[in-house]
Symmetry: D2
Subunit: 338 residues, 4 copies
């Protein structure tokens, strides 16, 4: 932690800060420059972080040196984390994991038919929402528990592990019973009580980035989960909110190499929600793989015209199958496989 003093900071003010720092068991080092005096603090920065040093008289600004997260950082654990999901699926290894399925579970027959077609095309995880976070209260809110049961049934039939979104802490038990990966959506990325609860679970958690979350915020939300005991966390980039309106959100693929440097956790990309239109999905899916993503999360629907949710961003199964062929080539080009 570096404390930058105002040009006119008095000796008494400097002494006051030094006394405070020492009282916390830390060691201050004073550097007197021509234009500013700095106080560097050696020792556990964590102790200082919760001190509002900015309000001490004479302080101009405070600059933290270390990242505020620990367990998620590469310094804490240099080797890549590989999250084990169900039988044989590993997220974070050489093999890129494709998770595909409908936006929402609508009925069992449709779900099973989609599950079969995405499996045939090469997906290894089935996605599908049972509880849906909808911006409007007048939109379809999902089938709820019944949807979870349909997912579990589809897994039984196809062997595909399932990922589905948890919104309410009170439903965790149900999810532990029926889901293989618990998804925390962008809108709940800073629902800290929910993060703590899934942190106490053993299930793998896929944590979507909030639409206005910096990488630091995102990793701190992941830290909540790890700190509560669950290290099986997969990060998911799904677009951020910017001024551009041609796409629903702006897909930020540069976070892939950024996050790979900072954390050992695997990172996957959801191009469907970022784009908001199925026609843009193939480009962005290929780009995500080329950029180094560990997996993809995509929405598929055989009759988008009748989809109860996000029809405009769902691909037809045959287009998805064609995309999978292209993705295999791109994966190979960057030394991975699908």
């Amino acid at each position: 932690m570096i404390i930058v003093l105002k040009p006119d900071a008095s000796e008494a003010q400097i002494k006051h800060i030094v006394t405070k720092v020492k009282a916390l068991g830390l060691k201050p080092m004073i550097s007197r420059g021509i234009e500013r005096t700095l106080i560097g603090v050696i020792g556990e920065e964590e102790i200082l972080r919760s001190q509002p040093l900015e309000v001490f008289p004479g302080v101009e600004k405070v600059m933290p040196v270390l990242s505020p997260y620990k367990l998620v950082s590469r310094e804490f654990k240099p080797a890549d984390t590989v999250v084990r999901v169900g039988d044989g699926v590993r997220v974070g290894g050489r093999k890129i994991v494709v998770m595909a399925g409908p936006c929402a579970v609508e009925n069992y027959e449709l779900l099973l038919s989609i599950a079969k077609s995405v499996k045939k095309a090469g997906a290894t995880v089935l996605r599908g929402g049972a509880f849906k976070p909808r911006t409007s209260p007048y939109s379809f809110q999902g089938l709820g528990e019944e949807g979870l049961k349909f997912l579990a049934e589809a897994r039984k039939k196809t062997g595909l592990p399932v990922i589905t979104e948890l919104m309410d802490v009170r439903d965790l038990e149900l999810f532990e019973k029926h889901a293989d990966i618990i998804q925390i959506g962008a809108r709940n990325m800073q629902n800290f009580d929910l993060l703590k609860e899934v942190g106490r679970s053993k299930k793998p958690v896929l944590l979507k980035r909030g639409m206005a979350s910096t990488v630091k915020d995102w990793l701190l939300s992941a830290e909540y989960i790890l700190q509560n005991g669950n290290f099986n966390v997969i990060l998911c980039e799904r677009g951020i909110r910017t001024f551009e309106t041609e796409t629903r959100f702006t897909q930020d693929l540069s976070v892939i190499p950024v996050v790979k440097q900072k954390t050992h956790l695997p990172v996957v990309v959801d191009p469907s929600h970022a784009a908001g239109t199925w026609g843009l999905v193939p480009s962005m899916a290929k780009a995500a793989v080329a950029a180094g993503a560990d997996g993809l999360l995509m929405e598929i629907h055989p009759k988008p015209e009748e989809a109860l949710c996000d029809g405009q961003q769902s691909m037809l199964p045959e287009k998805f199958a064609a995309l999978m062929k292209d993705l295999r080539k791109v994966a190979k080009a960057v030394g991975r496989e699908i």
Copy 2:
């Protein structure tokens, strides 16, 4: 709803859309222009909204004409809503309501002392967090239930109704017992299960704008609360996330006149969280009142150096008292009072 067709849309495609619209009980009107054909749909736009018309063959884009919210809109209820809080406090009338207090409840004595000083300065609601949504799991998370009890005790002593943030649906009962206004924080603005639950409550709800929420998103979140039966909703602008880093968030005061046109609900402003530094709070508080806000939410602490939360954005009680004098003048200048 206006459906804009592609330049090369075929008659068969147009017929397919027209059939679909009619099947929904709506009336399509076709306008054939020089460069595009449009299909206007007369009737309840709501019915069409959940249809993914964008994926119909031949469709270029779909433009909704009406707002997606109903109960919160001025068209539904032209007169301003005045939310009654505790004994005599009314949010949304001529009198501007100032809600002030510490970021977090730290202990009873401190809370009571702050409560007394903000009351003396003219605040009519006491704010204070018992459950704190903190970006980092290593930050102070609040006193929990004990904090709620301290707030209730402080109300008893000072007569000030209290506002405090609810994060977890499981705590609602506790809040109904101890709080006068339930605050939904920016990070939970789209925690739809939480919105539904406070919608079933009778307590006034203060709904903060999410840091990346458009006015439309914000009003739809309010709609969740009204649609579940609770019309006592106060909107609160607290800054949005932009590229500017000099302030913690960018206070968007232009939403005050925007929201006043669109909805009958009162709107208050939190300058403390937007600014992130107490030194900017007086300017922004005065600006908010001049812009037409119905109230202010501000953080006060007698010893910011020792505050367990947000010390750098908390004002000293004496500065707050001086600000209140200025605010009275500004309120008078715009035909209001404090």
Copy 3:
């Protein structure tokens, strides 16, 4: 400047950096912490700023301590700058300056009529564009030199000094002849050749903030003007680009107190371009004055239906006159006058 080293930085890497810093005539100070080693550099930070220290082996990040601008900073000149415009108008003093007029100069009669009405209402500077920066090449591009002459003529008739936008370095001479304040628009805030040229002029310059410019970028653009010899610079906030689409731009009033701390230059606000709709202008104009702005820049048109530019954000003269009355009250409430 603080150089933060990677956890595994070697002694050879540290020595390499230290040698480089010393070779520049600066004094490095090494602080060895538990988790990181830091190198603080004492001396003129400016010398180091142009060195890409980030690429030196072993460096994790570089944190500048000082602001990159000098002449615009309060440290360089603590007292407020008051810019003298024409006869008797002073921008930056106790009196708030209102600059009003049409978006574009359309013809002489209309201009003169608007000039008279804004003068009567209390404006002391006439605005009007002769060369217009239009997003589309198919929009009205302004009358050019003829517009400048009309402005000069209107000044002669009314005594109001005029402000008008310069876009092309080749037109500077014309502007020096006809204008009293040269406006640099948001789209040219980083047109550095233009900034250098107006820096060589003696005319007051109003520098609008770019729509994606941080305060730092904005002040550095002002620095270009001062560094070339022209200290008569007025800053103008006109809204930044964010995700919100209800307003044309998001007016960032919090920059007023921020900029007042950092620089001695006066700052005015343009609510017309930020809002994009005349109905929002009164709220934002009052808020700007309450927040501490030194002036306002507003668009007025007697027949907005027929305006050749920005009709939807132009106020009617009678609404402007009513607003001026309200603004006087707000100004008085914050210890200023109009």
Copy 4:
């Protein structure tokens, strides 16, 4: 153009609008819905675009149906534009064009050495700045005309055509003499006088996207160039400004498929300026190619520690050569070549 009326619009107001529309030679069509009346306008939307219909009494909002640009649109010219540069280089065909070189031209020997190494690695265009747009007036501003001559000399020696940035209209003649592609930088994307001048030139123009420019703004700026007669325009995505600070800008790769749908112009990507750190460039360059970019613009320097500009985002020549090998594989995977 769709004119949406307020719920309480009167017949007189409707008649007033209809009269206006007809007077412009256009044909209005009235649709009376349950909640709103709409007026659709058939005919050349362009005529209406400059009318501020929003201010007509009774109008709630106006929704344009068509894009405001013409010459750049796919509707105007369905086939991809291929821009011919120097001898044999074609931008916009099957072959992906790599433009590489130093941020700034520093001296002739260094430039030539970089030119040779990028040519050897497979680049077909040499980049290098002679006039540099620097945020701070204290940063290196470029060698100016001398730099242009060095570029021309390096072209003579290596056969590589050169791209370099034009900032000042007064320098155009010099650029026409020495450059093969004239670059318009992000900060000048809306410097309309500059756009008009390069529009009158015959030289290919690379138009960077402004850091806060929507796709619509960007294409309208390109329209300025085409409308003045120059159809040899290459678009370049170089990152947009968002709240994320881990990267210098946020690379928006989703614009590649978006822009490809809307326009016939080729689009290239600059990952160096978007990332701001050379370590992120390989990931983003590969992603850009996978997403469908027609080319890349990258910064290379053999001694980044001594670079006078943007050292931290410049790749070493050997790393660039290795990246080119990877890029060839990715290009092949998506049916292109480098």
